[in-house]
């Protein structure tokens, strides 16, 4: 049952890299965090990478952050893990990602101020 496989991947993560939770439920502080969470799990389900690769990469990023003395927040690290893994596995390239960020940022700008004309 996929639901169970998913749950077990996430629940079996070592405590040092475990997802933040409260009373047994996941804790997201912003909608993008839930999105990033779902993205990582869905990619794994679709066979983009084994869960061990994800948790291994996340663990490295968390350890690096601790050594630097200024670790990023948990889901920032989680997001960075997907970015790095997707690039490393050749699913996407860094330049494609940067280009997409530019497009998405421009679209966001459009939707925010639509009362003036764009060339």
């Amino acid at each position: 049952m996929s639901e169970d496989t998913v749950s077990r991947s996430v629940t079996d993560m070592d405590e040092s890299i475990a997802v933040p939770r409260s009373n047994g439920e996941l804790q997201f502080d912003a909608p993008w965090q839930a999105r990033a969470f779902g993205l990582a799990v869905a990619l794994n389900e679709e066979g983009a990478y084994p869960w061990a690769d994800f948790s291994g990469q996340l663990s490295e990023i968390i350890a690096l952050g601790e050594r630097s003395g200024e670790p990023e927040a948990y889901y920032e690290q989680w997001l960075r893990t997907i970015e790095m893994l997707a690039i490393e596995k050749g699913l996407i390239s860094e330049s494609e990602l940067v280009a997409k960020m530019t497009t998405v940022a421009a679209e966001d700008d459009h939707s925010h101020d639509d009362d003036h004309h764009h060339p």
């Binding site: 405590e15 869905a42 997707a86 699913l91 940067v98």
Partner: protein, 193 residues
Amino acid sequence: MSEIHVNTDAALRTKALEALLVEKGLVSSEAIDRVVKEFEEDIGPMRGAQVVAKAWVDPDFRKRLLEDGQSAIAEFGFMERPDTELVVVENTDEVHNVVVCTLCSCYPWAVLGLPPTWYKSYAYRARVVREPRKVLKEFGLELPESVEVRVWDSNSDLRYMVLPVRPDGTDHLDEASLASLVTRDSMIGVTRL
């Protein structure tokens, strides 16, 4: 457009990453929706709480739940792994039940969601069997000597959930309000309500 740098807003980065991966057909937005929904809403101790509240108000359901947990939770559409059995143990004024998995961290995730950090800790796993009263006391639960403590050791075939005692003074509450009183820890058995 300004240059994208490391401080680019995480919400924007997430959106771009998702859009790109969807474009490439590597994942669908619907799959992400489903995963998030499963974890956020469907999987969690609220499922267990619903089961407990129903057992408090419906004696027939309570009987079914104690006889065959797996079939009873299926009435809610909840399911543990098909090859495992869910055993629900009932707390009373004379008996207190507490659940552990001494070998690893087997846990009835379908009704209780993600296990708490301490549930997986070696200290809890080792000590709750040896000195349950002392461990419960550390959770703030002091039981009189007259109450018998039973410790249930889960394994991959058998998962346990505790049916807590319905708190006094809740006769006027409906099922939904009762469910909101039920905590995860009370269904593991490290607290009482």
